[in-house]
């Protein structure tokens, strides 16, 4: 979306503003803090060249919490997500300022290896992207490169546990040597989740994990997110309000690179405090 359109939308929202509701993009409304913070982002700004993609975002993500990032296309939610495991590093023009702590440790500090970070902060992508290898090798990829298994039996065990946790084991246990790319879309996405779990991460980032899937596959992934939230902090970017309502404990609404509002899921959907949030979740913009 171009800047001009965005500004028009903001103006439009301003024109419709009701008393008591602000339309300005200023400080975040709601509680950015978490009771049991695990990932802490403080005053994060991201620039792509001259483009200021994320503006002064502060957000805490708790242990065993599912937080959904929502907002219109180009609002910076994916960019923020990719800051959390430093996937933005591979974009030459990207620059990140502010601090992001993972369990108290600055992930942008000089002596932290982004490769080791990504083993702790796993990521599931928008489109299922299994490697063109067998199902077994897809899951075993992470444990192999990180040397997590001492022998074949242990590796087998990791693969099995991961596939079980991803709810895929029963469907593929007899064809572990088949190509991962031969599975259906939903199965592929669960394979990608199994692959991520196999490395033993503490946080799982999901960038619109269901946008390429049909409703049944989506429901399975959502159930899975629910189960996984017992063990991991999960950050989900989604375009589906229903999905955010179903899977998340908290919701963060982004607009034009600014974190507009954060709150408990129930509250934000029943009682949004910012005009822009309300417009977005009621379908007037976005």
């Amino acid at each position: 979306m171009s800047n001009a359109t965005n500004e028009n939308l903001v103006n439009l929202a301003a024109a419709r503003a009701e008393p008591g509701q602000t339309t300005e993009l200023g400080a975040t409304i709601g509680d950015v803090r978490s009771k049991n913070p695990f990932v802490v982002a403080e005053n994060v700004d991201v620039y792509y060249g001259d483009n200021h993609a994320i503006r002064n975002v502060t957000l805490e993500i708790g242990k065993q919490e599912v937080i959904a990032l929502i907002g219109p296309s180009g609002c910076g939610k994916s960019t923020f997500l990719r800051c959390l495991n430093r996937m933005n590093d591979s974009i030459e023009s990207a620059r990140v300022s502010g601090t992001i702590l993972l369990d108290g440790q600055d992930i942008y500090s000089r002596n932290l290896d982004p490769v080791a970070l990504r083993a702790r902060v796993g990521m599931v992508f928008q489109k299922p992207n299994p490697f063109p290898k067998s199902i077994y090798d897809n899951v075993a990829y992470g444990p192999r490169i990180h040397g997590l298994a001492a022998d074949r039996a242990e590796l087998d065990q990791i693969v099995r546990t991961s596939l079980e946790r991803a709810g895929l084991w029963d469907e593929v246990k007899d064809r572990l040597d088949d190509a991962g790319t031969g599975l259906s879309g939903g199965q592929q996405q669960r394979l990608c989740i199994a692959r991520t779990i196999a490395v033993g991460p503490e946080v799982i980032l999901m960038d619109e994990p269901c946008s390429a899937l049909d409703p049944i596959a989506t429901a399975r992934i959502e159930d899975l997110i629910d189960e996984l939230s017992e063990d991991y902090a999960i950050v989900v970017v989604t375009h589906s309000m229903q999905q955010a309502a179903r899977v998340s404990k908290r919701v963060a609404y982004f607009h034009l690179g600014t974190l507009v509002e954060v709150d408990e899921t129930d509250r934000i959907f029943t009682n949004p405090r910012h005009k822009l949030t309300e417009d977005y979740i009621t379908g007037r913009i976005g």
Partner: protein
């Protein structure tokens, strides 16, 4: 009229046809203002008229050029006295040639006689008549075609569709030229090769180990029996190709990996065009680089290490050929790597791979089919390469696997067999066509396999 004048006149008629057709289309609907009542834009009516002016005239002209000499010759023979008509075909041809040369005013061998001067006069007369007929016919066709087209113009006439149909036919004709040429080449090589296999058994050619194509010209000549065992050529080709691939594949592949994954944009923008420049150097330049620089260097280095090295060695030719093929390998491998979706790379990095782990464990295996296809194309290029090996590999058909020895390749032998004065019915010359056929078949198979693999692999991700 001279041919050029005639063609020029027809073209002028075509241009005139364009304007006449265009203005008629406008006048039948009543001027510019009503031009929208025409089915097509006025210009299309112009093109339609011009095409009908040009096409029949040019067709007649072409046909005339093909048929005229035969007809004129047949008439000329008919006009000759009976004695000459009964001459054997060889002598008759000689006589006709003499007539033509005499008529054109050039000096001829042998004495002139009454028959010759008479025939020359007849020939000149026939030619003049033919020229007059041609001029009349062509101009008539042009005018008639133009007028017929011109008269067909009315508002509902679908001129655009007609013109586009003709343009499409032209495009089809243009694209079939390459196909028919290929078929022509294959057939001509095939027929000559079959003649060769009539003289030398195909098994001797394919499995013989002695290549010495000098055939005796005189019956009493010593030592030139002619031996056409092509195995030394095949092994020489394989040896040099093998050396070239040993150079080109690792270097090209590593270049591609660096350019696709590690280099900054600045480096890539400079390095890629430079590599492509390397691909644009004529192979003859590589050839003398090989012969004058690399070959002596290989020889000196080899000798200082205690090997016996021929001054023209397979190693020198192979090394330079390898350098020549690097850009081909690197650019095809680069394409293959770039075709692997970015999501693979992201997925690997997201699991905590380093860049090199992502490259070696995920991206390269995914790109492998494309890379293999590229290598097959490179092999086919190496086998067909001629200039470098002519200049640097030597002519001795040694059956050896020693890279320091001089060897020769299929392409080099084709060149040496056909260079200079040749008689085109000796086994020696025909052998070149047999070699060419083998070369053609092998590179065709490699190219087909390579292209197939590359294409199949591209589809996988699209």
């Amino acid at each position: 009229m001279e041919n050029t004048t005639l063609i020029l006149t027809v073209c002028l008629l075509g241009v005139a046809g364009f304007y006449l057709g265009r203005s008629r289309s406008l006048s039948v609907v009543g001027g510019f203002a009503a031009a929208r009542n025409l089915h097509s834009l006025p210009g299309y009516y112009g093109y339609f008229t011009a095409i009908w002016c040009l096409l029949p005239a040019l067709a007649v002209l072409t046909l005339w050029f093909v048929l005229e000499p035969r007809v004129v010759m047949a008439l000329l023979v008919d006009s000759l006295p009976q004695a000459q008509q009964d001459l054997p075909p060889g002598q008759l041809n000689l006589l006709l040639n003499n007539v033509r040369n005499f008529a054109a005013g050039s000096a001829i061998g042998g004495e002139t006689n009454q028959v010759l001067t008479d025939a020359a006069a007849v020939y000149l007369q026939l030619q003049a008549r033919s020229r007059l007929l041609l001029t009349g016919l062509v101009l008539a066709c042009a005018v008639l075609g133009g007028v017929i087209a011109w008269r067909r113009i009315h508002p509902e006439f679908r001129a655009r569709n007609r013109v586009e149909g003709i343009v499409m036919l032209l495009l089809v004709a243009a694209s079939s030229i390459a196909i028919f040429t290929t078929i022509g080449i294959v057939l001509s090589v095939l027929f000559e090769a079959v003649r060769f296999f009539g003289e030398v058994p195909i098994s001797d050619f394919l499995f013989g180990t002695n290549w010495s194509p000098q055939t005796a010209i005189r019956a009493d000549q010593v030592g030139s029996s002619g031996s056409f065992g092509a195995i030394p050529l095949f092994t020489g080709t394989l040896l040099i190709t093998g050396i070239a691939m040993l150079v080109a594949v690792p270097v090209g592949l590593m270049t591609a990996i660096y350019l696709a994954e590690y280099s900054s944009r600045g480096v890539r923008e400079i390095a890629k065009p430079l590599l492509e420049l390397l691909a644009g150097i004529p192979t003859v330049v590589y050839g003398f680089f090989a012969a004058l620089t690399i070959a002596p260097w290989v020889r000196r280095t080899g000798e200082s290490l205690g090997f016996e090295v021929a001054s023209e060695s397979a190693l020198a030719a192979g090394l330079v050929m390898g350098i020549m093929i690097i850009p081909l390998v690197s650019s095809l491998a680069d394409d293959a790597i770039k075709a692997v979706p970015g999501s693979m790379r992201d997925g690997a990095l997201g699991l905590g791979s380093t860049r090199s782990e992502a490259m070696t464990k995920v991206i390269l295996p995914a790109a492998l089919p494309g890379i293999v296809g590229g290598i097959l194309l490179a092999v086919s290029r190496a086998i067909g390469e001629t200039m470098i090996v002519v200049m640097a590999a030597g002519l001795a058909a040694n059956l050896t696997a020693n890279p320091f020895a001089a060897v020769t390749t299929v392409t080099v032998q084709i060149v040496t067999l056909l260079v200079g004065d040749q008689e085109f019915d000796s086994a020696k010359t025909l052998a070149a066509f047999a070699l060419g056929l083998i070369l053609f078949i092998v590179t065709l198979i490699l190219n087909m396999a390579g292209l197939r693999v590359v294409r199949k692999y591209r589809e996988q991700y699209e």
